[in-house]
Amino acid sequence: MNGSQTAIKIDNVGMVYRADNQEVTALTGVSLDIEKGEFISLLGPSGCGKTTLLRIVADLLAPTSGQVLIDGSSPREARLQKKYGMVFQSPVLYEWRTVQKNIELPLELMKLSKEERAERARKMLELVGLTDFAHHYPQQLSGGMQQRVGIARALALRPEILLMDEPFSALDEFTREKLHEDLLRIWGKTNKTVLFVTHNIAEAVFLSDRVCVLSPHPGRLSAVVNIDLPRPRTMELRDTPEFTALVAKVRNSFEGV
């Protein structure tokens, strides 16, 4: 697309933790421009700072150097304006609320009317294919279904950006592959910008437009790999030589692991 706009601008971001008079550099000099509607993965092993970077974008952490701009404004402003929805490593559903009430939680904070909350929750449940489970409690759902509720809740805010922190890492392989397809289908329908943190190379390649490879000690951006595989992507894509070649290319771009 011509004249595409920047959704997230990460500019020379660094993060240094100080503990017991020791300095630990979690991130150093990370710069990245993410366009509107792009699906970007932050890929790396444990300790590479990928979750730290996501939390900085989400304004759950403040960087010690550099800055992040979301749609031209600070992460704090973006958070206050509810410009992003976040999906965590665990579904984080409140067990005292039904599935529908969990999805309505952010809408309650936005002071939407009861009718509008229910209507939006209904649409989101339809989107993730859980319409029949609206009045179930989270503990009655499988892990994969719970995480779909987590995604529905993040989307209920109608954010421009979806931040996902290893959302499928706790799921089994079969459920994960199913959710990959679901996520791409939802992303295709809603045109969100997605920033997706993972330590799974195949997952990153399958989902993303670009894979940002982060290397540890200190956490830094070591490569950005374009994934020019056609969309829509289905499970069969994983068996093609093009996919395998890209996985190998991404794997070879790690430094010092």
């Binding site: 206050l80 665990s90 984080v92 409140y94 309650e108 904070l109």
Partner: protein, 269 residues
């Protein structure tokens, strides 16, 4: 899955209800036939037979009920006020974490003071509360129960308000929720199971401390006080009638708690 759940619940009710019931009946039979007295070498005068205890309860029911109400009011009022007070302390400790730990230690220290030491002090405190000895005594007894029930609630509620699942606070912060919203939408509902954990300790404790606090009260009323008065006078059957009633109070209050818990927490694991 559902069938499996209900059958395991059925099996559980056998072990939790039927076995104790069977054991209770066995004891009762041994007791009534004086086999228990022979085994333990006790005089039936000191340990009256169940039939005798039962007939005493029947004969003096109105008088027993007056004492039951006196004890029940003290136990329930002390339990509710103490739990409320304990919960408020937990909230303060949550809002001001720096004082929190210290404050909770003080509460635990208070809890360690025996009623024997506490009761006379409180009776002395409350001597000007009312000109009516009954009311004056009741206030003193309620305060004793209150202090006994505060600790378990404050310690458990503090855990319920602060031990949150990973990311559950991040979630609300990502929605730009303030401290009060986090309290209302997350901490408060998260603490509900912990409230019941506290009550499982403090309900029986409230009955025991109500009974014991009556020993030291100025005004002679209540099931606990009647147990003492009758034992002192050598009226063992009457004393045992009150002991039985005291047990019933404890069992009924605990049963009410369990029913409330199973209704309120039915959707939680």
């Amino acid at each position: 899955m559902k069938r499996n759940g209900s059958s395991s619940r059925f099996r559980q009710s056998i072990t939790t209800v039927l076995y104790p019931l069977f054991f209770g009946i066995l004891i009762l039979v041994l007791w009534q036939t004086q086999a228990l007295h022979a085994m333990l070498n006790i005089d039936p005068f000191v340990l009256p037979l169940p039939s005798r205890i039962n007939s005493i309860i029947g004969e003096s029911l109105p008088k027993i009920m007056t004492n039951v109400w006196a004890t029940l009011i003290v136990a329930v009022a002390g339990l509710l006020l103490g739990s409320l007070f304990g919960y408020l302390i937990a909230i303060v400790a949550t809002v001001f974490p720096k004082w929190g730990a210290g404050g909770l230690s003080i509460v635990t220290a208070f809890n360690a003071i025996p009623i024997v030491a506490l009761a006379p002090v409180i009776t002395n405190w409350t001597k000007d509360v009312s000109s009516d000895a009954n009311i004056r005594s009741m206030v003193a007894k309620i305060i004793v129960v209150l202090l006994m029930c505060t600790a378990s609630m404050s310690l458990n509620a503090y855990r319920g308000l602060t031990e949150l699942r990973p990311f559950s606070q991040d979630l609300l912060e990502s929605y730009a929720a303030g401290k009060f919203t986090i309290f209302r939408k997350l901490r408060l509902p998260n603490s509900v199971p912990y409230i019941f954990t506290a009550l499982r300790v403090s309900v029986p404790l409230s009955v025991i401390s109500a009974l014991v606090s009556e020993y030291f009260a100025e005004y002679v009323i209540g099931v606990g006080r009647q147990i003492r008065e009758n034992i002192v006078l050598g009226q063992y059957p009457t004393a045992w009638a009150y002991i039985t009633v005291a047990c019933l109070i404890g069992i009924v209050m605990y049963a009410v708690l369990i029913v409330c818990e199973s209704i309120l927490l039915r959707h939680r694991k």
